[in-house]
Symmetry: C2
Subunit: 611 residues, 2 copies
């Protein structure tokens, strides 16, 4: 039944061959890989104004236009840089790979950790912002923000567990609808303004005192969130249909153009119409000014903004698990993350991403302004490492125009590095400290994981010579069997019968709480009339494992070093799931304790209950 429910939620399993058909074209790849980047238009500008307006009032709009220009310039640099990365890394040039290949393993791992963190934050920020749009229009929903966010994350999770292609279908159309909605708003906004429409001038309450440079840096840091998600395309190159490189580069270019138009356009509109975001979201306020608050277009902008933001989280759902699976395959993350699930998606990564994002949403109560402090440090750190890696790469491999290419990437590295420093400092007390602290910790853990896997593989590996030398027939040890029995019944008889087939040295073993019950068992056991000895031990501490281990080591057992001991444990297999609660309470515990000993093998024998 559980299986059927899973299959209903997740869809039927797909075979490995189905992989080929699960790749993106430009048309569907653009929305799925760019929704994160595009959607950040919904909050980047808004968060800039939330920093600026309380401090400098109407002057905020002018400064915002200036800062937006700087951010767009940054976008252009990143786009040129990343197109070079796609060319050089057709198999997926995430910052992790580029930095590891060209700088060092710790640099690569740092980029990986930073990106992983930011993917998680993307989910939290996007979903929270999406819900904020909706609650701006429908204010009765406001108290339920957190619950709505969590539900949405779970829905996206299920969608992604169903596999790639269905995601891209599911997420493609709304992205185009959003682009259409915003372009219409920008165009109509300009027309209305140029025909002389003026919104009533709002009043400003200037409450904060802050130094202008720090203020601008803070606003710039908030605005930089518009560029998160740009790297998604270069990570996802192998997910494109052939020719993958060409398709990926096209998508990246289109993506940048779209961000340029939408981010630039809405920044200018905000300036023209002087709207003040706060309780309500910026885009919704602009739409109200441009279209009026009961027009179809007002609701269309609200709805598509909401949807694109929810979908933006989906970008993380295709990249986070992929990143972790690449790291896991190389031993830099737990192996489980490298296994694809029934529907060819990396189920464990998807579950991990959803879990942490939900925790963040609950902690920060789904508030975008609170989450934004943590955001973007990670992305820009990985930008820097990736660009610097490319720079070193050009200096190593040379090739045509390498001077030009190296300087493009070098400049990108320099600029993004400055941005990292700006964000870390200006947003430090607003949450960036968490990320600044967390990244080194993650890097430390990742390197520990790798060290462990390396050590294990050395411990397990055998050389050709060693393999050739093995002779399975030479000095084979004796296998002894101990059958712990609680009472003499069908289980114990069955276990003893099995034990006899695998060894000539079988011992039955019972732990009794008092002598009376011990004698009862012996009496019943004697009826079996077998030559297999029964040992009864009295355990004052009601322990089972300790008396058994003591017995094994006692002279009574005559254990010869090098022999193996197989301990039989019964396992009730129940038909009804809840019956399991009524059995096997201590089996797992005993098994774990026994397996701490090298010379003990635990044999679990199922006993099938009818009811």
């Amino acid at each position: 039944m559980l299986q059927r429910f899973k299959s209903f939620l997740i869809g039927k399993p797909l075979s490995n061959e189905a992989m080929e058909h699960e790749r993106y074209s430009v048309l569907w790849g653009l929305p799925i890989l760019s929704s994160d980047a595009i959607s950040s238009v919904a909050y980047a500008g808004q968060e800039m104004l939330i920093v600026l307006i309380p401090a400098i009032g109407i002057l905020a709009f002018g400064k915002m236009a200036f800062l937006s220009g700087a951010i767009v310039a940054l976008l252009v640099i990143l786009t040129i840089s990343y197109r070079q990365t796609i060319d050089s890394y057709p198999n997926g040039g995430g910052a992790y790979i580029v930095a590891k290949d060209n700088i060092s393993v710790p640099a690569g791992v740092t980029a990986g950790a930073a990106l992983a963190l930011d993917y998680i934050l993307t989910v939290a920020v996007s979903v929270s912002s999406g819900v904020e749009q909706i609650t701006s229009a429908i204010s009765v929903l406001k108290p339920y923000s957190v619950i709505i966010c969590v539900t949405l994350v779970l829905l996206i999770m299920i969608g992604n567990l169903r596999g790639l292609r269905e995601s891209s279908r599911m997420f493609g159309l709304p992205a185009y609808a959003f682009i259409f909605a915003l372009l219409s708003m920008i165009v109509w906004g300009f027309i209305r303004y140029s025909t002389g429409f003026r919104a009533p001038e709002p009043t400003y309450q200037i409450t904060m005192n802050m130094l202008m440079p720090l203020l601008l840096l803070k606003a710039f840091s908030s605005g930089c969130t518009a560029l998160t998600g740009v790297e998604a395309v270069s990570n996802g190159v192998p997910n494109f249909k052939a020719p993958a490189v060409k398709h990926a580069k096209t998508v990246l270019l289109l993506l940048s153009l779209i961000i340029l138009f939408l981010f630039g356009g809405t920044s200018i509109l905000a300036n023209l119409y002087h709207v003040i975001p706060g309780d309500r979201a910026l885009l919704i306020l602009i739409a109200e000014q441009v279209f009026g608050n009961s027009s179809f277009m007002y609701y269309f902008v609200t709805a598509t903004t909401f949807i694109i933001l929810i979908m933006a989280a989906n970008t993380s759902y295709s990249d986070f698990p992929l990143l972790l699976s690449v790291m896991a395959k190389e031993g830099y993350a737990p192996r489980q993350l490298s296994m694809r699930g029934d529907r060819l998606s990396f189920s464990n990564g998807i579950l991990l991403l959803s879990g942490v994002a939900i925790i963040l949403i609950i902690i920060f109560q789904a508030k975008v302004t609170a989450l934004i402090g943590l955001y973007a440090v990670g992305v820009f750190l990985s930008f820097t490492l990736s660009q610097f890696g490319m720079f070193k790469r050009w200096r190593r491999v040379k090739g045509k125009h390498w001077h030009y290419k190296a300087s493009v990437n070098g400049f990108g590295a320099l600029v993004t590095c400055i941005v990292v420093i700006i964000i870390s400092i200006s947003k430090f007390s607003e949450g960036a400290w968490i990320v600044v602290l967390l990244i080194p910790i993650l890097v430390f853990l990742i390197l520990k994981v790798k060290k462990h896997y390396t050590s294990v593989s050395i411990q397990l590996s055998m050389t050709k010579d060693e393999l050739n030398e093995i002779d399975f027939d030479r000095d084979v040890y004796i296998n002894r069997v101990i059958v712990p029995i609680e009472s003499v019944n069908k289980t114990s008889v069955r276990a003893i019968r099995y034990a006899k087939t695998i060894s000539d040295n079988v011992t039955a073993f019972n732990v009794s709480i008092d002598e009376e019950s011990g004698n009862k068992i012996r009496e019943k056991y004697d009826m079996l009339d077998t030559d297999i000895p029964l040992i009864v031990k009295y355990s004052p501490f009601r322990k089972i494992v300790e008396p058994l281990l003591e017995f094994i080591e006692s002279a009574e057992y005559e254990y010869r070093k090098g022999d193996m001991i197989t301990v039989m444990l019964p396992q009730f297999a129940t038909k009804k799931l809840w019956h399991r609660l009524l059995h096997n309470g201590s089996r797992a515990y005993i098994e774990r304790q026994l397996l701490k000993h090298k010379h003990i093998v635990v044999s679990v024998m199922p006993l099938h209950l009818k009811d």
Copy 2:
């Protein structure tokens, strides 16, 4: 390290022999078994006034005195009834046992379920009320009520996991301090009043409209919570030092006298001083009137009331696990509940009680008035069943003065039955419906559990004749071994070596995702130069269990019905706990899937990693 931490928290393990020393004297038994009953003085009267005052203003105090008289009369009846029960059931005469013995199994199980529910509610109500006392005196703590309550439950839990005697020491003195504090308050309160002191008359806002009879019944129901906990003594008879019956009867009598004085006395004081509980607790308000709000005695009453209430929860911690262990031993609850832990307390019962109580506290936000609606139905239902059971018992066993004894218990049954009906109806919409619904569900589940255990024991049991007939040397089946290998390394070599000692029919088995990796393994395997065949299967769905099961059933394997198949699974034993996360991700899953098949035994072989 975990072991050491546990030992620090819980104390060193105690052996079975230590049981004898863990029993109560009258001096220490009185506080530990009666703190529930005594402490209910802190909320019973208060909850009556909370019902009455908003409806009838100053008239409430007169009605309260009248209702308190009725409740004290009920207490007298119960005390006489229960002393007879202790005489008849020296091994612990909980309502469960009395009803099961004398009425029927469903009646006993109903009493057990009702009591179990009320023990849980006792923890939730007592702790919440205790914290309410403290926040009445120190109002800055009010917002943290829920967290404080949860922490306290956890502390009591740890105290109880440490074992009985330490509990009684820990909980004895504060109970006496509380009794002393309240008696002082009552005496001083009477003296002050008789010397002419009058508190300023408060103003009443009469806001509710309710029919007088219903109002009185509601208040009476709230007041009846004063009697919860009276049955604790008769349940706990075997926990007393010899002569247990005499000690238990003495404790019950003392307990009733204390309740009579404290409950009666505070009711009269509330009446004399006309205090209005609401935001602040009744006892604290009275103490303020009697002693003044900055005197030592004011704080002494606050502190001891707080402590006795917290300790009251402890009554449940000695009775709930005992009740469940008795039920579990007879198969009416999961077996795990009948096992004593390291310190001779029933650890699982203690953990279960704490868990559910914490959930209740969180759901009802630690509000006594909200929890009180659920309370007392269960207790009075078990009173009724227990008294009716005793009534039937006297009619059966007769004996000296049986007519008198039967009529005492019969009258007790009748009165408490009426109380059950009153509480269920008058508190129905305030939460009693939950209990009224839950008890039949619990009874149903308990009977299901019993049915399952009975069915299992029938399935497992063997008659003498069957035991005598067994001949372990006759028609022994063949044991075959399959060794699934991921690659050819030390693990697989070790597993094959072991397999050869337990069977002559060994097969190595590999599941590859593609042919390339399959060929690689075969190549390496051939170096071993062994006659054990290697089967390589290609799994398009990345599944491991299914190809193995298909292979077993295929003609290729030549499986003969009746043979057993042992499947070897490696288990990495890691030194560091967190390394476990990096391994064995799929082992438990594979084991569970394989054990669904009767003819498969799973042998788990530990592989000890150095680092």
